[in-house]
Amino acid sequence: MTDKALQARPVGNRGAPPSLMLRYGSQLGIIGVGLAMWLGFVIAAPRVFTDIDIYRAFAETTPLFGIIALSLTFVVITGEIDLSFPSVMALGTAAFCLVAAYGGAPWWVGLICALLTGAVCGFINGLLVASLSIPSLVITIGTGFLFRGLELVLMGGTGVPLTAEQYPQMHALLREPVFGFPVQTLWMVAILIAEWLLLNRTQFGAHVFLTGDNQVSARLMGVNAARVKIKAFVLVGVTAVFCGLLSSIYGYYFWPSTGEGSLLNTIASVFLGGTSVFGGAGSVVGTFVASFIIGAINAGIVSAGVNAFYTQLAFGLVIVISVVLQTIIDRRIRRQSLTGR
């Protein structure tokens, strides 16, 4: 094309490659928030926050919800939400108990059955959302009750001990530290790497972004948006069950109420991590860092001598502020789009 053909020339400095700040602004912002919070906690409770034990506690407990948050990031990027994962955590772990503890099957059969249960739950969610276009916010509340109810019926509302003597391999996999380092965080790092690759270096990941950004455009260009959404929900289902097992093994016991209380932490981690509530943008690295910030809020508030009731307040603030910020950014992008700049 000749010069005269197009006078599409740079306007202002928009032509410059996006700066590090622009490209990774949200992640850097989250890291900044995390550092500021950490400094605040160190000043408020120096004895607690200069002791290695608090960090070990973070490393053991944060992955119990943080791993689900990593997968939930995919669903939120597609423009959907899954509120049923706490129930899936319980139902999948119940499946393990039914097969391995009550059924007498080897532990690995129980593990496979549990993960498959999570996949089926995710598939059901995805199918209802993608194929029937039911709003995910509504349908996953419904399936959440359904999965929890099924678990309670199957287990008769009773728990199951999961001791190291009964399931040494499960404890070796999910509880025993590796060279003194909490295995829970090692799992989270491994899943972070795998999911980063999945989101940023595979066709599925690319289609997750495109589906969430503009589903109609993605479909016109040959992206199977329904299939992409179903896969994202399956991912959440499988990792929810993994976290159900992780937390049950951590507590040596499967409680029928497993998963309750993890909803807020997980969703807060995704939104604080910079994933757009409108879909089309997000980062698993941001979610990873945000998970540890959320994990620290709980312990930090108590350690700093503040009443534990303030924890909920802090979570609420985190969600509200991060969603408001995302909305402002999104509006700015839309305004740029409407004006062509």
């Binding site: 094309m1 010069d3 053909a5 197009l6 006078q7 599409a8 020339r9 740079p10 928009r14 032509g15 410059a16 490659p17 996006p18 490209r23 690759l197 940023n200 270096r201 595979t202 066709q203 990941g205 690319a206 289609h207 972004f209 495109l210 950004d213 503009n214 109609v216 455009s217 993605a218 016109l220 260009m221 040959g222 992206v223 757009s276 089309g280 943008a281 992008i333 839309r334 740029q336 789009s337 062509g340 700049r341």
Partner: protein, 275 residues
Amino acid sequence: MGRRMKGSGAMTAAATVSVGETPVIELKNVSKTFGEVRSLANVNFRVDRREIVGLLGDNGAGKSTLIKVVMGFYSPDAGGEIYFRGKRVDDWSVARARKLGIETVYQERALCEKQPIWRNMFMGRELRTRLGLLDVERMRAECARLMSEHMGFTSAAVHPNNVVATMSGGEKQGVAITRALYFEAELVILDEPTMGLSLSETKKTLDFVRHIKEVGRSAIFIDHNIFNIYPVVDRLYVLDRGKVAGVFSRADITMDALIERLYHVARTGTMELPQ
């Protein structure tokens, strides 16, 4: 990915049209009926290689139906025939049309505004490494090359990492058209590409349309505005009430004469002016 261009050379090697060359696509005696309504009636239509064909007509004239038949969205009623490069195709579908190299640049451009330009350029047909992972660096590099060679951007102008939302309407059309050409579209269908654009952006878009011909490809250009369509097309089909009311070579008719004919068609349903 097999049809993808290997380099800029393929895009710039414009072919010479020879007289009597096989059309890229040809519709013979095509009708399309929806219930009681006949949207197309015995339409004969063709697009030659390296030719830009315009489609004009009022609302309900049959433009959209005709285009959807070409795209493979609708199959013609019995008796209609579709030929691609001279060969009759019976199992005409969207997938088949796309495989043969018919790409559509939609009115809304089918772009994802929050995504970088490179991701939009390769939307749905991402380049991958031998391991099956996305070849992000190659997509960025290819995108920069395409933007430089075919959209008139220097590397310092607009970076492939910039999100599409920062581009103007005309530039977005440029991305959509360049994307179609990159994947070796033989025929690009432009569905009202200037809709909602300012004058300067419309000019940019029309330059992109001319570029399709420069690189040896063909296009069907649908627009309501005769002032946009006339300067860039080689031939014009005027549709009225599902029929081809007239076919003009741009060389044979002035814009004023064409406008007069269009008024006449709208009033009488016939193209022929009274003597």
